[in-house]
């Protein structure tokens, strides 16, 4: 079970704990992640706001490198990076003139059979929740997370082709496989405000405030996410102290993998008290 792997720029900065927990969990599942050699930034939303062609070509260089490495499908943990890579894939598959233009600029030939997968999709649907359940050493019984999908995983559905865009279930199914009891709520695909955090902190505060308070009102003890930017926004712009996990971190708790204290140290809102109260520290 070998996969090509795109960590993304925040892997060594704001989502350090996402990267480490991804690697640990993947090892526990018996898989191997091979980092794309000399990968570059996916471009994020900033790039397509300024130069649309560039926003297709930056991810294409990564696709080109992953494709020629011939390790297997490309796996992307961060929902934001995944979205950018899929936008390029969509153009490569559906717009012949664009494909030729991108191929010429980046210098490669696109192989339409090459697959790009979100880590969550890979775990829930390829590896499967059954295999996940078998690997659980300590059930997350009693833990009530709100599963937050945000924008990038599920929208636009013609591009991401992942789950139901209004009421997605992948993450909920994964949490149930770990023994947790995800709550029902209606803000799972609402936007957190993304990079407006840096220019319009008050707007993001409002959007995040609503998401977090709705999760709390619905009885959640924490929120689970798969996006570096969502995690940072939810954790830093809220006022109620609800812990915000990456889904791989909760998998790591259930699988009882090593090194978890290093992840918790990176959190602005420590999840330790919550985990201790459930005997999961």
């Amino acid at each position: 079970m070998k996969f090509s792997y795109f960590p993304g720029c925040t892997d060594h900065s704001t989502s350090y704990e996402y990267g480490r927990s991804t690697e640990a969990v993947f090892r526990a599942l018996g898989g191997e992640l091979v980092e794309i050699e000399d990968w570059n930034c996916c471009g994020a939303a900033a790039t397509h706001s300024i130069n649309r062609l560039l926003s297709l070509c930056l991810p294409a260089r990564n696709i080109s490198k992953a494709q020629s490495a011939q390790v297997g499908p490309l796996v992307v943990p961060c929902a934001g990076c995944f979205n950018m890579l899929k936008r390029t894939e969509y153009a490569l598959k559906n717009d012949e003139a664009k494909r030729k233009e991108i191929e010429e600029i980046v210098g490669f030939r696109y192989d339409p059979s090459f697959e790009i997968l979100a880590l969550m999709d890979l775990i829930v649907n390829r590896i499967g929740t059954e295999k996940v359940r078998e690997r659980v050493k300590r059930s997350l019984k009693g833990l009530k997370p709100a599963c937050y999908y945000g924008c990038a995983l599920v929208r636009h559905p013609k591009i991401t082709q992942l789950d139901d865009p209004e009421n997605p279930q992948y993450l909920d199914r994964l949490m149930k496989a770990l023994g947790a009891e995800p709550i029902e709520w209606s803000y799972k695909v609402d936007c957190c405000g993304a990079d407006l955090a840096l220019t319009y902190g008050n707007v993001v505060k409002k959007l995040v405030g609503r998401i977090v308070s709705m999760a709390k009102e619905a009885g959640a003890q924490c929120i689970v996410t798969s996006c570096g930017l969502c995690q940072a926004n939810l954790e830093m712009r809220q006022e109620v102290d609800l812990p915000i996990f990456y889904f791989t971190e909760l998998m790591g708790v259930a699988f009882d993998v090593e090194g978890r204290d290093q992840w918790w140290k990176k959190h602005m809102i420590s999840p330790k008290r919550l985990l201790e109260s459930l005997g999961l520290a």
Binding site: H12, S13, N40, A44, R52, L53, H156, M236, M268
Partner: protein, 184 residues
């Protein structure tokens, strides 16, 4: 009478241009407001997404390209996912920003544009984004030194913002890609 013909004419050409660049069929909009109802940043925009479409149909180019709306859109794609006529305003917004930049219309939300510039320049320098230098670059461009200091400091103290950038080997390749894309 002449002025009416004139208005219709300019109206049509801006509409056609916006359609061509975005690839979205903006004539299909029947003002159901579904886009605006779900848009997270609509309450902060000067023109709401559904009104923006109407204004494009009417050819009000300066107002559209000079609006705060085109910069406050965060590309969340809620509108595009829900529109009964499959109009993707998120994609349209990219095209409108591009037109505004080309025409030299100053961004009404200057700081948002400057942040995007700083981000993209950071990729151009090293192939990957380096938060610390990107943010300093943004602060220098915007001269807005006080906003958002606390969250930045929190990240720094958690050791989440490395001081030194990590450059990739293929910087020349990246430079070439940039040059080709900037020429077009």
């Amino acid at each position: 009478m002449e002025s009416v013909v004139e208005t219709v004419k300019t109206g049509t050409s801006f509409l056609e241009e916006a359609k061509r660049r975005s690839g979205e069929d903006l004539s299909l909009c029947y003002q159901c407001l579904k886009c605006t109802a779900g848009c997270p940043t609509a309450p902060f925009m000067d023109v709401r997404p559904n009104n923006l479409i109407r204004m494009i149909q009417m050819g009000r180019k300066e107002e559209v390209l000079g609006s705060s709306a085109i910069w406050l859109c965060v590309s969340c794609e809620t509108c595009g996912t829900r529109c009964p006529n499959k109009i993707d305003i998120g994609v349209l917004m990219d095209a409108l920003r591009e037109m505004a930049i080309e025409e030299g219309i100053p961004a009404k939300e200057r700081n948002i544009h400057l942040l995007h510039e700083a981000f993209v320049q950071s990729i151009k320098r090293g192939g990957r984004v380096h938060e610390a230098t990107m943010l300093i670059d943004y602060k220098l461009r915007s001269r807005d030194f006080l906003t958002d200091l606390i969250p930045g400091m929190m990240l720094f103290l958690k050791g989440k913002i490395p001081l030194f950038p990590s450059f990739i080997k293929g910087r020349e390749e990246i430079k070439r890609i940039f040059e080709k894309c900037e020429k077009k």
